[in-house]
């Protein structure tokens, strides 16, 4: 019955589909993924910010990279210094074409001396294979064989400690360790896409359902909620985290140069190890950009609520706020001149602010700059004033502790 005309289902489908009563499904990398399990997003959002949220992230592309030259391959294709990556450590990184423009972003986990896991949003096998020419390395795609869950929220540690053989108390931010959950071997990394305390649990697809059940069971007393990708989308904007195809376009997919973005422009300057030895893809272009500065930068925009109220009050309305993150480009202006655009904007329930990830030209990306966001009020273009801020918008103390 499955097959030809259907999108792929994740290994958790039996559980997620039983809970997804509103039938709010979205597409994610050729899979169907739950948008939300409730009619609204509030409960799932607050599970992320105040309890524990269980999110099926299996559609992430996963690659196993093994062999004596595995580290050399990753050192070559990412701007990070992979030689420094310890076993059990995770790096977040983007990677570029040779023009120094982003292709994709994801995580690199060092599983062993000669073995790594790479996650990505888009397929990367061809690109890895091209770069692996002459290297003693084997790249295996594990996307379908491996299931993944993201457990996010301040209670995620307590939930894991209830159902794992080994506590995760010692697991530091961006570290990974093997564990046993529901009697199944898993690896758990302290990573996520929400800017809160959180973990990602990686397992064999065959173990997916028992692991899901054990987590939901252990989380019952902590207010765990199965959470769709729409609530996560609001949280990731608050965390200042961007998304491929929403906030930037892969250099290989861009039709025109203006669609491409560099890691510096996306705020990933901290991931670029120009001090590491030797060539890596995009090095020369990135060195030039580091020297000359970036023409653009992605930063945060906080819309003034009082200003938004005024704009709406002019037509006799209270501010109208979309119920989910808006993935649409909105012009950003300075003194009436367009100086950039917002790629994702959202109401932040925790901050009680309207916020946006914005891409601004130099020098308007400096924090404190006053700009305005173009919005449509009763079918008319209006400008809501706001202030440029550094990312993230929201970062609780316990994220890294």
């Amino acid at each position: 019955m499955t097959g030809l005309y259907q999108l792929k289902r994740t290994p958790f489908h039996a559980r997620t589909s039983a809970l997804c009563l509103p039938q709010n499904w979205r597409r994610w990398a050729g899979h169907i993924a739950v948008g939300s399990y409730d009619l609204g997003l509030e409960r799932e959002y607050w599970a992320i910010r105040n309890a524990a949220a269980l999110i099926d992230v299996s559609p992430l592309m996963k690659y196993l990279i093994e062999g004596p030259d595995a580290a050399r391959l990753l050192d070559k294709v990412t701007p990070r210094n992979i030689q420094k990556l310890a076993i059990g450590q995770v790096y977040y990184t983007g990677w570029c074409d040779d023009g120094g423009k982003l292709l994709d972003d994801g995580t690199v986990t060092r599983l062993g001396e000669q073995s790594f896991r790479l996650t990505s949003a888009e397929p990367a096998l061809r690109w890895l294979a091209m770069n692996a020419v002459g290297l003693r390395v084997r790249v295996t795609e594990r996307t379908d064989q491996m299931a993944a869950l993201s457990l996010q929220g301040p209670k995620s540690r307590a939930v894991l400690n209830r159902c794992c053989d080994t506590t995760v108390d010692g697991l530091k931010f961006f570290r990974m360790a093997p564990n046993v959950l529901a009697g199944r071997p898993v690896t758990i990394s302290r990573t996520g896409y929400t800017g809160d305390l959180g973990y990602e649990i990686w397992m064999d697809a065959a173990d997916a359902l028992p692991v899901w059940d054990a987590l939901m069971d252990a989380g019952g007393d902590y207010g765990i909620a199965a959470c769709g990708i729409l609530a996560m989308d609001m949280a990731r904007v608050e965390a200042g985290l961007f998304m491929l195809d929403v906030d930037y376009t892969a250099a290989t997919h861009a039709w025109i140069p203006g669609q491409k973005s560099s890691p510096y422009e996306m705020g990933l300057g901290w991931t670029i190890a120009l001090d590491k030895p030797g060539y890596f893809v995009g090095r020369r272009a990135l060195e030039r950009e580091a020297r000359e500065g970036s023409a653009w930068k992605m930063v945060g925009l906080e819309v003034d609520w009082e200003g938004l109220e005024r704009v709406y009050a002019a037509v006799g309305l209270p501010p109208q706020i979309p119920a989910m993150a808006v993935r649409g480009s909105l012009p950003v202006l300075h003194d009436g001149q367009q100086v950039g655009y917002a790629s994702t904007s959202t109401w932040s329930p925790v901050l009680k602010k309207y916020i946006a990830l914005v891409h601004l030209q130099r020098p308007y990306y400096e924090p404190g700059t006053r700009v305005s966001l173009e919005i449509t009020v009763e079918h008319h273009r209006r400008h809501a004033p706001g202030t440029v801020v550094s990312l993230p918008f929201y970062e609780p103390d316990w994220k890294r502790k």
Binding site: W46, N50, G223, I321, Y354
Partner: protein, 528 residues
Amino acid sequence: MTGASRYDAIVIGAGHNGLIAGAYLARAGKKVVVLERRDVVGGAAVTEEIFPGYRFTEFSYVVSLLRPEIIRDLELPRHGLKILPLPSTVTPMDNGDYLAAWDDHDLTRRELYRHSPRDAEAADEYSRVMARAAKAIKPVIGLVPPDPSSLSWRDLRGLLKLGQYGASLSESEIYRIAKLVTQSSADLLDEWFEFDPLKGTKSASGIIGTFLGPRSPGTAYVLLHHYMGEIDGAFRAWGFAKNGTGGVSAAIASSARALGVEIRTGAAVEKVIVRGGRATGVALANGDELHATVVMSAADPKRSFLQFVDAQHFPDEFTQAIRDFRVRGSSGKVNIALSELPQFTCLPGEGPLHRGAISISPSIDYIERAYDEAKYGQFSQRPYIDMIIPSMIDRDMAPPGHHVMSCFVQYAPYDIEGGWDDAKRDAFGETVIDTIERYAPNIRRAIVGKQVITPKDIERIAGITGGNIFHGELLLHQLFFLRPAPQWADFRTPLPGYYFGASGAHPGGGVMGAAGKLAAHEILKDWR
């Protein structure tokens, strides 16, 4: 003189209004101390661990109207404030069925349709009409009330603003509002609906914190207050603060401290010091004296004007107005620690109902009857109860697997026949449990501990005279330019240097914070 200290401003009372006023004054560069009689800050917005591991939102328990600009101005999210959704209200019925209002329009409509197709349609129009009326009067909340009898430039300007605003309303809006402010909630609801549990539940919000029944004129207006939160767009009507309302106070206190406010607990104020016809400081119960340019009271009107300051400093008519201010407490709280969730016969199992409000309000008659008993000095034998289970919304409120339940109970008159004593308090608590047991039979078995709070206890613990949760009933003759007294609704008092900014001032109670913020603004205006 020992223990003397000098401040720009002294704020009496570290409830949410006092803390907010202190924070705004400090934000403007003033040296501020906030004095709190108790060892905990928060006033009636406190969370306390009465039984180990179980945290009770002792008095106020939900948040609706906390002004969003206060949240942003004081950066409360950075100081831990989170307002969690309270998405539904379920009213168990005597026949074993229930009436639910969910946070989704289609679900709510379908649910109501089950009971009354006519009401289902009327409910849509009713909420639009109420929301429009709320929108029409909302700007008034943010205004310092102008005194219509005064000829001062400031008041005239305020009146002009109000007049312009009034002129912008349509004729039908004005009629609607005129009707709303004079009607009883029962009359209003009878015009719209037929289904008793719906009318009972809606009428309940018109009587909260007043010593009135749903058939008393003036209660319709209070219903309107409950639509205020809704028209703020992104701001929910009702929410539960992380860590209870004590979490709100803690966030405000943390923000205030970060702004440089000194908060002293265990510092009961005995008297406001008056020199040369001006308030110049306070004397504490321990004998310390603190001096400041201005003193603001965030205590209730009776304490602020009849206790802290000698009557000689006020005109007679002011003192008389404060004496006449009605502060009759009419409600109590029962906070319960539970070893398991209450199982409601109407919706067995753990479900969404446990995450929202559960209202014991089967009909208007039920509530009016409860009021009848209170009128003559008894607590209601079958009271109106508004329950929430905070531990289902925020798991930090109780040990894992266990729960706390907050029950707001009306009526429990402050002036009970023969006066409150331990036996009456126990009997009151039993009546509440009995009432809940009719709908959730396992409740008694699940009780680990309970705290029963009468209006007398509210007065004793939180220091609110009369035990009224709003520091004074939200009656029409006690609102706007009449709150707390005619001519003195602008946060100033007849005593120069002495200001007043709490729930007993305009615009009134609820964990809203507007009074504290507006008072701070007026203080700063006078500074210039």
